[in-house]
């Protein structure tokens, strides 16, 4: 049997907008993935620690507060330091187009803004994580 893709959906920082994170978590679950949701107010350390414990293939970071340049980069930096650079990191929320190249460079493989169909996120993850 094929092994399921394991995804951690995380809310870094103080942002409380969790509608998108919860919808994506459900959509990935319905697409056959194992989903773990961290809940709110996570530091980079907490997110990476959970990723290690749960042995995930993907981390989905959701943020609508505008603090993505600091908070997303904190997570990718720490992942690299822990030798977990192979975990796929994707981001969602209110992320202006002009911030996307810098986030990609920092290791956020894909950014999904408002209006993205859930299917696009499912397809992206399935293509990048071949099991």
């Amino acid at each position: 049997m094929e092994k399921k893709i394991r995804v951690l959906i995380a809310k870094p920082g103080l942002d409380g907008h969790d509608r998108g994170a919860k919808i994506v978590a459900r959509a990935l679950r319905d697409a056959g993935m194992e989903v773990i949701y961290t809940g709110l107010h996570q530091t980079a350390e907490m997110i990476v620690e959970t990723a290690v414990q749960e042995d995930v293939d993907v981390i989905g970071l959701s943020l609508l507060s505008g603090a993505h340049m600091t908070l997303f980069k904190n997570v990718t930096k720490l992942l690299k330091e822990k030798g977990m650079g192979d975990v796929l990191v994707v981001g969602g929320g209110i992320i202006p187009e002009e911030d996307v190249p810098a986030l990609k460079k920092a290791g956020v493989a894909g950014c999904f803004g408002p209006g993205t169909p859930c299917e696009d996120i499912v397809d992206f993850i399935k293509k990048k994580v071949k099991k």
């Binding site: 409380g16 919808i23 459900r26 961290t38 209110i94 803004g113 209006g115 169909p117 299917e119």
Partner: protein, 558 residues
Amino acid sequence: MPGDKEINQVKEKKENWEKNCYKKLVRTNPERKKKFVNLSNVEIKNLYTPDDIADTDYIDDIGFPGEYPFLRGVHHTMYRGRLWTMRQFSGFGSAEETNKRYKYLLDHGETGLSVAFDYPTLYGYDTDQPMARGEFGKCGVAVSSLKDMEILFSNIPVDKVTTSMTINGPAAVIWAMYIANAENRGVSRRVIGGTIQNDILKEYIAQKSFIFPPEPSMRLIVDTFEYGYKSVPKWNTISISGYHIREAGSTAVQELAFTLGDGLEYVRWAKKRGLKIDDFAPRLSFFFNAHNDFFEEIAKYRAARRIWARELKRFGAKNPRSLLMRFHTQTAGCSLTAQQPEINIARVTMQGLAAVLGGTQSLHTNSMDEALALPSEKAVRIALRTQQIIAEESGVTDTIDPLGGSYYIEWLTDKMEEETYKYFDKVDKLGGVIPAIEKGFFQREIAEAAYRYQKEIDTNERAIVGVNKYKMDEPVEIPLLKMDEKGEERQIKRLKKLRKERDNAKTQRNLSRLKNAAEGNEYMMPCILDCVRSYATLGETCDVLREVFGEYKEPAIY
């Protein structure tokens, strides 16, 4: 309402019309959809007639504006006398930058202020605390001390303009800063007017900027009720909010039911403390969303007024002002599209119109660029102009409750009321609002509704113009707001200077007095005021309370 004989005639004629005309036509030319439903999944009929509201008694159920049950409006003259307050929710970066924006908005005809705070402030942290890093000024303005409050309102007439502040966990502290600033400028607290959101229940349910567990949070809120009617009589000490419940993905019915349910819970807690309902209830206010389904939104506001008046009467309120469900409205941020952002102006116009036809007391219209960033000056000006056009060009303000008596509107108002009471029963069975929060009831209901809505969009069952229909592949070309990158550094320097220059012995004394008050059963508002007056920061004051009360951790449910 028409008599039985007339109703029977209408019924008979409608049946004939359905059988002989409508159904025949539909057989050859099918309707656009198999089933027409609104955003709350209520099935909508092809036509409404007097038969649909045959049980309605005009005097008891509809009545007159400014009179019980207030279905047609809370004031006798409504917009013929005075327009709603045009109040754009606004705040970003430093107090200096936001102060400039407020003056800009007032110069362009805004009639009230509304403060958006950044995340650290919402959680009671100073800009230089570890959890705050990277968040300064991102989602609102940073206010870490009375010093920032002074700058935020400098040269703004706090004796004339009313201010609404979206603050919940640390509401008592931020309110104390507003009061202290006014008093330092020689304006009595008895004169100032405004609103603090102060609605912690919906934080647990939807918005999630909570600090303390439910019990001490409720205690702080009842303290503000008491301080308000005794000392700041023109202040709305709470804005019981459905807005964020809706933004989190609820239906209109859930928004209505959960919000009013929260409101009744505050009444219970205040009464339990021994406050008299007619002292505090006149200062309770509400805040609703204006989403896309035009008539459903209008029915929601009307139903809210009638339910609130009836329930408060049941609680024994005698003062007619206790029965008034006065409310602010904001158009639905979650309905805005990042795609073809200019078309959001059209959405906001319809949503704003629904709020006005629903009898709102104040209104925020969203800016077209808010699915991309905080609004630019031009975008917010257009949003304000949209309200001004509704107010001064459309003619909808010339008569009171113009849709009252519409068969559809009255039927839908009744329907929403009926659905609301079903939710009240469900929550009662779970043991009340706080046990239902702890069981994740509201959170799950909302997450399910949000997922259903998204699936409808993803499968093209529900059209969103520019997203799944009439799409365009062109880059977004509107200039977005840029913030001063030096703001955070400046703010941290200001905090350091403040901590060095204030009378630290006095600050510490006030903070330990607050700690003692919190540990006992004491009423905390006077102590909180002393803390902020002696320039204790927001973070220091909230840390004292965090130490005594602990912090709330929510169950992570999706």
